[in-house]
Symmetry: C2
Subunit: 291 residues, 2 copies
């Protein structure tokens, strides 16, 4: 089914939205969705959340905040849990984006929680990446430290009515000016918003559109090739991970790990044994059995 979808992909504008917890991503998403709807565009929101057994309420809360779009058939909202799948985030998100793209949405909003390397990289595979920061906490140096300046196409200082917002905007603009990106063409925009009131959300959506225009067809294709490469690699690694999980006996991960923890075996040796155990037996039967 996914194979059948491939020829239809590539029409949606994939917009990544990331930032630390508490910065107001859900409220911003909801306000952005409202803007797109007013422009007559359909939007799919994919929220990638690290879940925990007792955070159901928090996730539900997010969806409730999206409640204003609940009856709108031009808006599709889905949360993806990634708990316990360190590698899963990188393969599952692009797959879901592909499906939503093929389903014909004009915009796919890929929302990830967290400022970790993986969340930033997932958001960074979008056509346009929006990074939210809060005043004070998210100043230029901290932003640079978290590596977000490199992936951000649009930087948003949300809660811009709070103290410290001016300084944060100034710091981010200075950091952007300092770290001109390798591709040169696009200087990340810095936008102020108060998502709860909708202030600045129009400017945010305009900045996203301006970035898409600046990318052009060549830039877009380049981003999509990059995204495809990450997706294919992640799928291949997922498959390897599944094969590792399926290995039992003396060359299974549990037994090897116990020997490493006990100091009998070094981890590199254990990894080599694991990889050897994964290889198909050198017979024609062995090769066909593995499917």
């Amino acid at each position: 089914m996914l194979a059948a979808l491939a020829p239809h992909a590539g029409r949606a504008h994939v917009v990544g939205l990331t930032g630390p917890p508490g910065v107001g991503k859900s409220t911003t998403s909801s306000a952005v969705v409202a803007r797109y709807r007013r422009q007559g565009l359909t939007v799919a929101v994919l929220a990638v959340d690290p879940t925990s057994p007792f955070s159901g309420g928090a996730l539900l809360g997010d969806r409730v905040r999206m409640g204003e779009h609940a009856g709108d058939r031009g808006v599709f909202i889905r949360s993806m849990a990634t708990r316990g799948h360190l590698g899963g985030l990188s393969s599952a998100a692009p797959q879901a984006v592909r499906v939503l793209d093929a389903a014909g949405f004009d915009v796919v909003l890929l929302e990830t929680v967290g400022v970790g390397q993986s969340e930033v990289e997932v958001a960074g595979t979008a056509d346009t990446t929006v990074v939210l920061v809060a005043p004070g906490l998210g100043d230029g140096v901290q932003a640079a430290k978290a590596g977000i300046l490199e992936v951000a196409d649009v930087l948003v200082v949300n809660h811009a009515d709070r103290p410290g917002a001016d300084r944060t905007v100034r710091d981010l603009r200075a950091a952007v000016a300092l770290g001109a990106r390798a591709d040169g063409a696009w200087q990340p925009a810095v936008v102020r918003t108060v998502a709860t009131t909708g202030e600045g959300v129009g400017a945010l959506v305009e900045a996203v559109a301006a970035h898409r225009a600046a990318l052009g067809e060549t830039g877009l294709l380049e981003r999509r090739r990059h995204r495809a490469a990450r997706e294919v690699e992640a799928l291949a690694l997922d498959a390897v991970r599944a094969r590792i999980a399926g290995l039992g006996g003396g060359d299974g991960l549990v037994r090897l790990a116990a020997r490493v923890a006990g100091g009998e075996l070094d981890p590199h040796g254990a990894a080599e044994r694991l990889l050897t155990a994964l290889e198909p037996q050198p017979s024609a039967e062995g090769l066909s059995e593995r499917r």
Copy 2:
């Protein structure tokens, strides 16, 4: 060389320290190190930082804050860059911990930036995991959302002199009570600190020691087996990733990704071709060539 180190590993108390940017991790680390030194213990600090081309100053700033320990031979401080290595974080950090452990340090402090899945999981492989939150931003719901309650053995509300600290402590205690952990034995402690003045750092170090005592030898071994399993798996996946990067031609990742982006090939099909291309040729020569 790493193989030779294996028998010496396992003496240090490995303490993970994580939390969002701006929460005061470096200052807390420095204060914790000072405490341990007063107890006559040697400490190695391993700071895992996602770096960027223009964040050198920020990292340097961290190390400068650690300056009070610069002349102390009982303290070793090293930063690890993980930029561009989505998978690298999980394999490189445990390896470095192993080396520091073998070098004879009493405590290895593994400091990771960010609240992303991977950072939390890396810190979560420590014997004892300390999670820092800031007042206000890091309340119970947000903490649960970021998945940190599940990995935290000790929760620290830093900047506890700021407004909202009482509420955050209360929220976290409520969240901890609500989400009694599967292993049952240990209820995460919630500690208030003002790392800049050293307030509460004694209580933090005591809570870490109490957790170590509660783990016992069985619990410690279990954690170390878990850590070893993650390390071995990550090393195996790194090796696969390197092999993928080494593939050229029509079955190389770049060419396959271009075909996926162009809609000629679906990503699952591309991943399968990649994995097939990685398999050794079914001849003895092929097998030996791969080394």
